[in-house]
């Protein structure tokens, strides 16, 4: 019954927001950006005309991205805009600009700068998995436009095929069948602060490192690369908090989005994620780095189960379906959600760490790609977010935020260097800005 309804969404020409998208759109405000960016750096400069042609041919294959945000009486919704193609623009220094829900606004954006082609997406449309499929398909088509033949393998969609409704289903309700309902909470976490940058400046600091070296050290500690990086970030935040000499130290907790597709099979490209919260409380005592890795590792193994995730998922969907909430007009609902998020939602977390995983490309495309990058938009409080993306042998860790001092970035990359991982750092920070030498 539900499946029939979702399958009809594409024909109906509009989409309900899924569970995650509801939150992203309700808490939208002028200085918060639920927009993220994926980039591929090619071995030659981008030809804008070819990229434009590629976008024109690729967009119809992704009807879920050809949409506009509209305000209904009770909920926002995504209104289909067939034939929509985002304008291909030269890149800007402050990426991931917030969306405004104004008419004519693009929720998908395409940029180019030298060899880098970037795709920015509003998070209500798709999650990292869906965005990567779009970027791969676009890049493959771009190479075809410039004369290379790229086959439709390794997740590149065939743009000649008609879009399948299953690719745009809302998979949350289908798996919200658990008897138990759980919600993720937690006490207030440590939040670092600093000098805020003027509106809207996004400081991006990107470190590239070889995966093999990371894996080697992660293996020594008995963990995966994501767990290892999460532990390194927690350790960094513990050190930064310690340097502030507080009387009582707060727990350091990360919010880590989890892709649900390995647990609950679906072909959807829309949001299908939940978050987990690895946490260390420095009040309990000093942890060595190896101990932090072990804590994160065991936390992930213990809690990332199909049953537990289903309970969280059921709780979220039940909230969205509750008749009390449903019949409240959307402005009131959005205000309540925004206030709730400001006072409760972000408090239990110190930072976001997202890792959409290893990007695989068809060999013909891979031969021309030097690097893959991901940038998250400005967080609710302006603190840095952290995004990880790896392509074969290279892994890129990107911090993006609106705080001037790069304390967290510096401590994190210096720590990796000390662990024997060589890091190359690039940044969009202004060099003449008076940056203190530390």
């Amino acid at each position: 019954m539900k499946r029939k309804e979702t399958a009809g969404a594409a024909q109906r020409g509009w989409y309900r927001l899924d569970n995650a998208a509801l939150v992203y759109s309700a808490i939208q405000r002028s200085d918060y950006s639920a927009v993220y960016r994926f980039s591929l750096v090619l071995d030659r400069d981008i030809d804008p005309a070819a990229l434009r042609r590629a976008a024109e041919k690729t967009m119809p294959r992704f009807p879920g991205l050809c949409v506009r945000m509209r305000r209904g009486v009770f909920w926002y919704y995504l209104d289909g805009a067939p034939g929509f193609v985002p304008e291909v623009r030269p890149d800007v220094a402050n990426p991931c600009q917030p969306v405004r829900f104004s008419p004519g606004e693009e929720l998908v954006r395409i940029y180019y700068y030298r060899g880098r082609m970037s795709v920015e997406l509003f998070h209500a449309l798709a999650d990292g998995t869906g965005a990567l499929v779009f970027l791969k398909t676009l890049a493959a088509q771009y190479l075809r436009e410039t004369g290379c033949d790229v086959p439709c393998t390794d997740g590149v969609l065939d743009i000649g095929e008609p879009p399948s409704p299953e690719e745009w289903e809302d998979a949350y309700p289908r798996y919200a069948v658990s008897r138990a309902k759980r919600s993720l909470g937690g006490s207030n976490a440590y939040r670092y602060t600093g000098t805020p940058e003027p509106f809207y400046t996004l400081n991006v600091t990107m470190g590239t490192m070889p995966v093999a070296k990371l894996k080697e050290d992660a293996k020594r500690c008995g963990a995966t690369v994501t767990e290892y990086l999460a532990a390194a970030l927690i350790r960094t935040l513990i050190v930064v908090q310690h340097s502030e000499r507080r009387r009582r130290e707060k727990p350091v907790a990360l919010v880590v989005p989890v892709n649900l597709r390995p647990f609950f099979p679906t072909k959807t490209m829309r949001n299908f994620i939940l978050t987990v919260r690895p946490c260390i409380d420095p009040e309990l005592g000093d942890y060595t780095f190896e101990e932090i890795v072990q804590q994160v590792h065991h936390y992930m193994r213990l809690h990332l189960t199909r049953q537990e995730l289903a309970a969280y998922l059921t709780k979220n969907v039940a909230l969205q379906r509750s008749p009390l909430l449903r019949f409240v007009p959307s402005p009131v609902k959005n205000l309540a959600m925004a206030l709730g998020f400001r006072f409760v939602g972000e408090r239990p977390y110190s930072m976001t760490l997202t890792n959409p995983g290893i990007l695989t490309l068809p060999p013909e495309l891979r031969a021309h790609v030097e690097r893959a990058e991901m940038i998250l938009g400005q967080s609710y409080s302006g603190r840095s977010n952290c995004a990880v993306l790896s392509l074969d042998g290279d892994l890129t860790v990107t911090f993006s935020g609106t705080i001037r001092e790069p304390h967290v970035e510096r401590e994190f990359f210096r720590f990796l260097v000390r662990r024997g991982v060589p890091v190359k750092v690039i940044s969009n920070r202004k060099e003449d800005a008076s940056c203190p030498i530390v």
Partner: protein
């Protein structure tokens, strides 16, 4: 290819300093290439501010329609002899000034505050007029309300001038002292027609002593340092 001598991370060929710590790059074997391609573009894009005028206009139209409905219902259907719709329309107007006008017009906060107070006073005047409490309103309520606003404005203005906490506290205390004397005077004049200073003088004495103490602390640097040391938070 250069490394930061401080952090040990590899840097971009175009970098003149380490983005993490600011240490300048000095490498005799590989000098900084000022014309090397930058890793990120330099062109900034401005983000358009949120336009709230659309919402403001919609709300204005809705409120105007509601006011018109009230007036029509009052005149032709429900209790035509009682002017209840005047209260409703007045209330709607005050709400419009408080909530909708800021969306349409970006004014200085002080101008907005003055306008809001004026709207509220006008509404209370309307109520007083309709309930035949005009004399009471003009002789007591209006002066007291104005005195409260004036007293509240003094510390706000001081704080807006970025004076110290001490100065703001002093101005607030002084304003409170004057306000209490004025309040008693207004009440006395309304009740008996004659100002007979009583309780307000006690308050004023306490206030003057407190302000004087703070003033001494403010003017004597050594004393100020001592107080700062003893009371630091």
């Amino acid at each position: 290819m250069s490394y930061c001598v401080n952090c040990g991370v590899e840097l971009d060929a175009s970098a003149r300093a380490c983005p993490l710590c600011g240490t300048p790059v000095v490498n005799p074997c590989a000098p900084v290439q000022p014309d090397a391609p930058l890793p990120f573009p330099e062109r900034r894009a401005e983000v358009a501010p949120v336009d709230r005028r659309g919402a403001g206009l919609t709300l204005s139209v809705m409120l105007a329609a509601a006011a018109a409905c009230c007036a029509v219902l009052n005149r032709f259907f429900f209790f035509p002899e009682v002017p209840w719709s005047v209260y409703a329309v007045g209330g709607i107007f005050v709400f419009w000034v408080l909530a909708v006008l800021p969306l349409l017009w970006r004014a200085h906060p002080a101008a907005r505050a003055a306008l809001s107070i004026a709207a509220a006073l006008a509404y209370t005047a309307l109520v007083a007029f309709l309930t035949h409490g005009w004399g009471w309103y003009v002789r007591l309520a209006l002066p007291v309300a104005l005195a409260v606003c004036a007293a509240a404005a003094v510390p706000c203005v001081t704080a807006a001038m970025h004076r110290s906490i001490l100065a703001v506290t002093m101005s607030a205390l002084a304003a409170l002292t004057v306000f209490l004397v004025v309040l008693e005077a207004l009440i006395d004049v309304f009740l008996t027609g004659r100002f007979a200073p009583g309780w307000s003088l006690i308050c004023a004495a306490v206030g003057v002593v407190m302000v004087a103490t703070l003033l001494v602390v403010r003017l004597r640097p050594r004393l100020r340092e001592e107080v700062r040391k003893r009371f630091h938070i």
